[in-house]
Amino acid sequence: MSADETVAASLTETATGSTAAPAVIPAGAIEGRSPWQLAWFILRKDRAAMISLGFIVFIALVAITAPLLAHWIGYGPTDQDRTNGITVDGLPVAPNSQHLFGTDNLGRDILVRTIYGTQVSLLVGVASTLLAVAMGVLVGLAAGYFGSVVDSVLSRAMDVVLSFPFLLFAIALVSIYGSGLGISVFVIAFFTWAAVGRIVRGQTLSIREKDYIEAARSLGAGDMRIMFVDVLPNVLAPVIVYTTLLIPIAIVFESTLSFLGLGVVPPTPTWGNMLSDSLDFYQVAWWFPLFPGLALLLTTLAFNLLGDGVRDALDPRAGRLSQD
């Protein structure tokens, strides 16, 4: 109570024109720090997360500048180097000065192909995650906020999606409608949105009961305004955490589809189809699976590390646990 009193006392001071700022707040800090800014301050101190973020920025740059890099290296992603890129027995060539990462069974440069694989992985990973999150947030908000019949129907829909043997079904979808970038994004989003939806629904259910929602309603705010202005910012923290953790899942999903021959159509290089091609050659060409595999693993690792950092920063309770 004494703290409250001092604050209140200093408040009356400021209100009556005195220049003395309340003791608890550093002078000059009139601009309040938003919970997001505070989270960013915590995240910035997390070395693993910052290194991961740096790596993610790096591979994003690599993806964007892939054509430039390929031009600079001297091989296109589907160029077959028949003179230096393949042995007389028709086997891949080990890393050397001309092909830093070696070549594959068709004499294509693995470095350039790995660089191009970044494009597909990031594009599919990010696009499908954003799609899934958008859909999950909308459905979760509606189900949690409106309740009753809307909730029953939407929750059941989420149950159904979550009960799908999703990889199997993804394969079925792709085999019927043909493979490609677009269908990969759609299929991955289709099977991941429900998890986001459940989280958002649960959070919305508890936020809905808060006094400030009732306050907004008593002011005459409509359902849409309450959902997006009052509820959404309060359910965003777990959504952001989940988004960073969903991206590596989507990337793995995409590479699995590619690996099974159901992703982006060859000869477009993806890490998944490179690894799939390497299955017959790993015994004679260790570099063939190594570089795309390493790129894939490091990327998902970076996103997972960043996701952990974001979660610790947004949820002080989780942070306390890991620092115990």
């Binding site: 409250d4 408040l11 209100a15 309040g32 306050a215």
Partner: protein
């Protein structure tokens, strides 16, 4: 406090419109549902049952009762956060009971609420300026830049530093947060403010500040308050008239001083004896009336007078017949009591015992 500074402008002369809010026979049940596939109703919470009250323009009507007596539900029915099961709510003479959400919107400008929990009633993810400016945004008054000076003016009015416009609720103390809530309620210059336990969650020293603030604002803007609290001493301080509620019904209604000096309902007597008294000598001397038993379940309220299972004066008729809320013998017209055997001045309730048979009481 009942004296209105702007009396000439704010208090119309004719009787009908002197009533800002009229509650007529309000009933609110909450259904309890259960079921596997089809939900069926297995019971009802009788939150408000047959309440008639009116709030005059410019006055403060206090609404007192224990937790769960239906006072907050009644307040939310008045502001149309809940719709009534039956009965009528008149606001400025207009029946707003069954208006659709869009039709009720214009009325929301003119009645605002202040909530109990200064932590729960402010969105933690939004800046204070945006929270206080919410009423403007919702009712489409001005863009962000136009709203800012208005909001800062309001902040100054309620004793907040306008420079804290961009801060978050978490950076304020409980008392300051309640000031934010008051500023938000004041934004659209409403005629009625429903204050639902506005100071219950605050420290005693801060309570006085907020109450004084509400008092000043009432004088300045000619506001009408419906002031809800479980604390009779707080309500007595701010109210012109007080209504005492028990299990969804009004059991006594009188002018503030009259109620304190001559409480007629045994329940009011019990509440008064439990209220805090500033003078320690007086506090030691007084007799506390300790009620026996718990508040009965509002799902199955007692028959007759709802207070009879706990009333020290209860007799057989109290079990059978519900006493009407009327002026009792010797009381002024404005003092209404719903009791078959009102407490006489000087009567010592700690000495009387009920005379209804145990088996009937147990029911």
């Amino acid at each position: 406090m009942s004296v209105n500074v702007n009396e000439s402008t704010n208090r119309p002369t004719n009787d009908a419109s002197e009533m800002l809010v009229e509650i007529r026979d309000a009933v609110k049940y909450f259904p309890i549902k259960q079921g596997v596939v089809v939900k069926r109703e297995i019971g009802r919470v009788h939150a408000v049952e047959g309440v008639s009250l009116s709030v005059r323009r410019g006055e403060t009507l206090g609404l007192v009762g224990e937790t769960g007596c239906g006072k907050s539900t009644l307040a939310r029915c008045v502001t149309r956060l809940h719709s009534l099961t039956s009965g009528q709510i008149l606001f400025e003479g207009q029946d707003i009971t069954d208006l659709s959400r869009s039709r009720v919107r214009p009325y929301r400008r003119r009645m605002q609420m202040i909530f109990q929990d200064p932590y729960g009633s402010l969105n933690p993810r939004r800046r204070v300026g945006s929270i206080i400016g919410d009423p403007f945004a919702i009712h489409g008054e001005g863009d962000r830049d136009e709203r800012k000076p208005k909001v800062q003016e309001l902040m100054e009015l309620v004793g907040l530093n306008p420079e804290h416009y961009n801060r978050f609720p978490a950076e304020f103390s409980g008392g300051q947060r309640q000031r934010i809530g008051v500023a938000r309620a004041l934004a659209l210059k409403p005629s009625l403010i429903v204050a639902d336990e506005p100071v219950s969650a605050l420290d005693v020293s801060i309570q006085a500040q907020i109450i004084n603030l509400l008092d000043d604002l009432q004088q300045e803007f000619g506001l009408t308050y419906l002031f809800i609290s479980h604390d009779l001493s707080v309500v007595r301080h701010v109210s012109d008239r007080i209504a005492v509620m028990y299990l969804g019904q009004v059991v006594e209604l009188a002018d503030s001083e009259e109620l304190h000096n001559r409480p007629r309902h045994p329940y009011t007597n019990a509440l008064l004896s439990a209220a805090s008294v500033a003078d320690p000598d007086q506090a030691a001397a007084r007799q506390r009336i300790v009620l026996t038993g718990d508040v009965p379940s509002p799902v199955a309220p007692p028959t007759g007078c709802r207070f009879h299972p706990r009333c020290p004066k209860a007799q057989a008729i109290c079990v059978q017949e519900q006493p009407p809320l009327v002026a009792r013998a010797g009381d002024p017209d404005t003092h209404l009591t719903a009791c078959h055997f009102p407490v006489e001045p000087g009567e010592d309730l700690t000495r009387v015992t009920a005379t209804i048979p145990e088996e009937e009481r147990a029911e």
